[in-house]
């Protein structure tokens, strides 16, 4: 049992222990889809939805099915299957109601399945022994934290594109990693405030 309060955990998941900027999980879609603010927000919202629901559902399955039957070592497979199905659900919904976003996200939408941040959140939930409510808050908080990171980088990149005097070699992933690194340094400053590990 982890004694941390829900509000603190939520705040920590977004700022002090941001899954992307302090744990460096989920970098691949972060670099690929942060070209502009709008698609960054889109993928961010999809990730928030998936992290929140999967961390809760994985919590229920882990403590009510896997532990009673002593099958904890199957957690990786089960977690990934749950994540894959929720990503399918998101893909279906976006295809139906947000066609333009569906085209922009392209292959990266189904690839949320293998976004390591999402599996990471479910596994942290197990390692840190969160309760059901804590898992919900941690899942949502981490998703929002990931969305915050990608929208920050997305809006900075959008501004950079308006003044295209970058050195050629830095265009694209190069400058994105540098921006992410600087943001990460800034977020490191928060890390002394709360410790959740």
């Amino acid at each position: 049992m982890n004694e941390i309060s829900l509000a603190t955990l939520f705040f920590a998941a977004i700022f002090t222990n941001n899954i992307l900027l302090t744990n460096f999980l989920g970098l691949c879609p972060h670099i690929a889809i942060s070209r502009d603010l709008k698609s960054a927000m889109g993928i961010g919202a999809a990730v928030v939805f998936v992290t929140t629901l999967t961390s809760v559902l994985n919590h229920v399955i882990y403590y009510n099915v896997l532990i009673p039957f002593h099958l904890e070592h199957f957690r990786f497979i089960i977690f990934i299957i749950v994540i894959a199905s929720f990503v399918q659900l998101v893909e279906m919904t976006i295809d139906r109601y947000f066609t333009r976003l569906y085209v922009v996200l392209g292959i990266f939408l189904p690839l949320i399945t293998v976004n390591c941040a999402i599996l990471g959140i479910s596994l942290f939930m197990v390692i840190r022994e969160y309760t059901f409510a804590q898992s919900l808050v941690y899942g949502a908080g981490s998703g929002i934290g990931w969305m915050l990171a990608i929208t920050l980088v997305g809006s900075i990149r959008e501004k950079i594109q308006k003044h295209p005097n970058l050195p050629r070699g830095l265009v694209g992933p190069g400058i994105t990693l540098i921006i992410t690194g600087l943001l990460s340094l800034a977020f490191m400053a928060f890390s002394g405030m709360i410790q959740i590990q």
């Binding site: 099958l71 199905s85 279906m92 333009r100």
Partner: protein, 369 residues
């Protein structure tokens, strides 16, 4: 103990997966239900269809046959249709097949876009002439060790098929070991356009090709199949110039139909056929072409072998068809060129002919992918 854990674990994973699949299926039937939508064609005809499927297959169900060679996989780019309204944004799977002009004309790859809302599309009038035929495999013969010639008899409709020599049809085979659903591919017609009730097709075996494997290994004489057509704009160019036909492998098929046309229309233009294969046993239709050469004095048949061995006792030309162009065609020759075969062969012939000063509008080709 370990075995029981393992079995139980697998069982558990299966149950959870099944539950999630059930949940997704239920969600799919609600979320992906696009209901009835209306497709307006050429501001004239309205179709009421169920939404959610690709435009190409939706139109095929309504008996409107758009040309397609790959069977809706998005690899040939033939199934272009002008979508004026309701097509949604251009997809990354479409853009490689569309030029800037085509995008401006609202052309879309119809097997890639889904029918999600009411649409307005424009289809060339001649595509309404495309029909579906019930055909019978009347004769199957082995032309070479990897090419079969099949003769199809048209059972329905009773008035048969009308086509321009050089055009192709889509042949559809039923579901079998390699495919869980019927598949179709495009094949050029080798028989005479005067013959409205029989079609000759030349089908080369393609490794893991769904339709060609079926034809080579499963199709028996007297089997029935479905065909649609005719499609394509490969044809004999009209002028007073000489005619040059260049084919490799199964690319000979449309040339045969064009040669029949030259025969029965008594076209007196000097005609030359370059036919390239690797070895002598791959030269199919050889006797037929030699006898046609004896009968028509304006026609010359020049086969060439790229891999003739010394024991083959081959007295004809050696090398590729491009080498024949170098020898036989002088610069700025007054000739209409018709090329059919593999894309690299077609491309190198076109490049060479342009270099020799043949204008691009006197060259027509059909690439067999």
């Amino acid at each position: 103990m370990i075995t029981s854990t393992l079995i139980f674990g697998i069982l558990l994973i299966s149950v959870i997966t099944a539950l999630l699949a059930l949940f997704l299926e239920t969600a799919h039937s609600y979320i992906a239900d696009y209901g009835q939508v209306r497709i307006n064609i050429n501001n004239d005809k309205d179709l009421e269809v169920n939404g959610g499927d690709p435009l190409l297959s939706t139109l095929i169900r309504e008996k409107i046959f758009i040309p397609s060679a790959c069977g809706g996989k998005g690899t040939c780019g033939y199934c272009k249709v002008r979508v004026l309204e309701g097509g949604g944004p251009l997809l990354p799977t479409e853009s490689p097949y569309l030029s800037k002009e085509e995008i401006q004309q609202d052309k879309r790859i119809s097997c890639q876009i889904k029918v999600k809302s009411d649409m307005k599309i424009a289809i060339p009038q001649e595509l309404f002439n495309v029909r579906e035929y019930r055909v019978l495999a009347e004769r199957i013969e082995e032309l070479t060790h990897f090419i079969k010639g099949i003769r199809l008899e048209i059972l329905e409709p009773e008035d048969g098929i009308s086509f321009v020599p050089g055009q192709y049809i889509q042949l559809q085979v039923p579901a079998y070991k390699l495919s869980s659903q019927p598949e179709f591919r495009a094949y050029s017609i080798a028989s005479s356009a005067r013959d409205h009730h029989f079609l000759d097709l030349v089908i080369a075996r393609v490794d893991k090709g769904i339709v060609s494997t079926y034809v080579h290994d499963y199709l028996r004489e007297k089997d029935e199949l479905i065909a649609r057509g005719p499609f394509g704009d490969f044809h004999l160019l009209e002028s007073d110039r000489d005619i040059l036909l260049i084919a490799t492998g199964s690319g000979l098929a449309p040339m045969m139909s064009i040669l029949h046309q030259i025969d029965y229309e008594h076209i007196q233009r000097k005609t030359t056929l370059f036919f390239g294969t690797r070895t002598p046993d791959e030269l199919f239709y050889y006797d037929e072409l030699r006898s046609l050469e004896r009968r028509l004095k304006q026609f010359t048949f020049v086969p060439t072998l790229s891999r003739a061995r010394s024991r083959d006792d081959w007295k004809g030309e050696r090398g590729r068809v491009t080498e024949l162009i170098e020898t036989y065609i002088h610069d700025n020759a007054a000739v209409d060129v018709h090329i059919c075969g593999s894309p690299p062969m077609v491309q190198s012939c076109v490049d060479l002919l342009i270099k020799k000063g043949i204008p691009a509008d006197r060259i027509i080709f059909d690439k067999f992918e």
